[in-house]
């Protein structure tokens, strides 16, 4: 009996032990970032499971637009530094195939999230709000692409940069109470030519990991009483003012943990 059970137990204990070791390393030393977010950015998860656990969904956005089709800060140089092959000119024959998702799938990167609690500027009376036109890969404005009207963001946590080296990103964004460096995935986006615009390359942050945060048992009480958010409404503004603030700490291994929850 022992001969058959011991190897199984070893596998289970080693696997769990390895996970806990990584957790311990993460919390060792000074936090990499400590940010206080509101309910806009960390929403209560609503699930169909009959569960007593409480999790928060990280609601972040790409500032280039609600559909996140292109990030103006993800230039061709950025994309190449992330490992994408941008050697083919966007308007060259075969470019669409070269830049297809099948040929160049998403890549693991480190993402910088900027928590800027300042509200979106209100436009002057009588004029529609506008944003700058999206820039093509290379930084120049794309001819023929009209500026998009500004909208109220569902969240004030925005993806603003990505790179392969988290330490370099932290040097670029030293404010640890505003900028979060975390794991993520970037995607190259090819925009085909239209009658009014040339073909151009863009990119977007496709996901950040983790984007669902477990709230420790001791901090769950204030949140249990609140009505939960439907997951599908993450990309819509809150229907009410934020009801709580949550403090999240990112450890040295860039793994977050919820350290404080306060009702407003």
């Amino acid at each position: 009996m022992i001969k058959r059970l011991v190897p199984l137990a070893i596998v289970v204990l080693v696997a769990n032990g390895a996970a806990l070791f990584m957790v311990a390393r993460n919390v060792d030393g000074t936090p990499e970032a400590r940010v206080q977010l509101t309910e806009r950015e960390a929403r209560l998860s609503d699930t169909e499971f009959d569960t007593t656990g409480v999790t928060l969904l990280l609601a972040w956005h790409d500032p280039a637009g609600p559909r996140r089709l292109a990030a103006s800060w993800l230039t061709r140089e950025n994309l190449e530094s992330l490992g994408f092959d941008c050697s083919v000119a966007p308007d060259a024959p075969g470019a669409e195939r070269h830049y297809s998702f099948a040929a160049q799938p998403t890549r693991s990167v480190y993402v910088v999230l900027d928590f800027n609690p300042a509200p979106t500027p209100v436009p002057s009376a009588g004029e529609p709000p506008t944003e700058a036109a999206p820039a093509a890969a290379g930084g120049e404005a794309v001819p023929g692409v009209a500026p998009r009207p500004a909208i109220e963001r569902p969240s004030r946590l925005a993806a603003v940069d990505a790179g392969s080296d988290p330490m370099m990103l932290r040097q670029r964004y030293p404010d640890r109470t505003r900028f979060i460096v975390t794991h993520g995935v970037a995607r190259l986006v090819f925009h085909a030519a239209t009658p009014t615009a040339r073909a151009f390359l863009g990119g977007t942050v496709a996901a950040v990991f983790p984007d669902e945060l477990y709230v420790p048992t001791g901090l769950q009480a204030p949140l249990r009483r609140l009505e939960r958010t439907k997951n599908s409404s993450l990309w819509e503004p809150l229907a009410h003012e934020p009801r709580y603030d949550v403090t999240i700490e990112y450890g040295s291994r860039l793994r977050p943990r919820v350290v404080d929850v306060r009702l407003r």
Binding site: A15, N26, T52, G53, A103, R107, S108, H183, F209, P210
Partner: protein
Amino acid sequence: METIDAAGAPATREQAQQRADQVRAFRAEFDRLQAEGVLAVSSEQAAAIRRHHDGVLEDLAKRFDVDRTAAERQMSLGMRVASLLGAIALSAAVFLFFYRFWGLLSVPLQVVLLASAPIVAAAAVEVAARREKTLYIASLLALVAFASFVLGLSVVGSIFNMPPSFGAFLAWALFALLLAYAYRLRLLLFIGILCAGTWLGALLTSLTGAWWGNLMLRPENFVIAGALSLAMARLSTRLGDREFAYVYRATGCAALLLPMLWLSEIGEISYLPIDPSFIRHGYDVAGFALGMATVWFAIRRGWTETVNGGGLFLALFLCLKLYDWCWDWMPRYLFFLTIGVVAIALIAVLQRLRGRRSAAGARRTA
């Protein structure tokens, strides 16, 4: 590992069931030959043969709990289905039970429960295996143990907000394979091979810089996993473990052949740094060649299931290619007629091969 002991008696339940089926088939044919007047055996000899076989079946039933009649065989099949459904239901119950109560538990207690659940379930497998020779309950509990381990690692990752990692697949593969070899469970072996193949595919994908979650976009990873699985099949056969060799072989062939379907359609997902249209044509040729080689080799070795699997793959592959080449320009009736003719030709070829094999077998017997 030896599956037949020194006296020639079966050492595993599969071997024992084959022996029991042989006896039953012999008895039926013996009675038929006597009834047709082909065989004339004295009543003493017939009684001696019957007594001998009764003893064999009695011994096999006592040691391995084999099915002695067709009715028992059907009931065993029902028990296997019930075992699988029971495993799925129990695993779901464990999963949902944990989620129902985890918010009320402290983190250390959560971790202890998650880590101990698969170990406790494995101990239950051991107890069940000692009490029941057919291993239906043991295999059910083994699946629950595996599901508990998957749940445990996944939830530990969620509790501590860890990004998804493919390393967990390696741990799951090891656990499933250890269970499979300890209790001779083919389903756990299959699950272990799948997890190991997934881990390998994710590792190879991540080495290219791509996110490991894109492993399905690089099917050539599975060709490598398939080749390794076939190597394990060969090793298992050499060691005399035919039951597990079959699982390795079936999984290996699927992992080797199915990627050909994708790669012959989408050349961009290949690792090869050449023109995608050239890649597609290359995999067209490779798909047919590998498919036919699989069928031919399996026929020579007598691997019936592999012959059927290879034949099915060839048929699917051919239909797909005919669709790619002909659908746009060929009249619809002619297209389906072509597929029908190809199917008939395939049947004729396989019948001819079967006939040759039967003749070769008859010559060896003579």
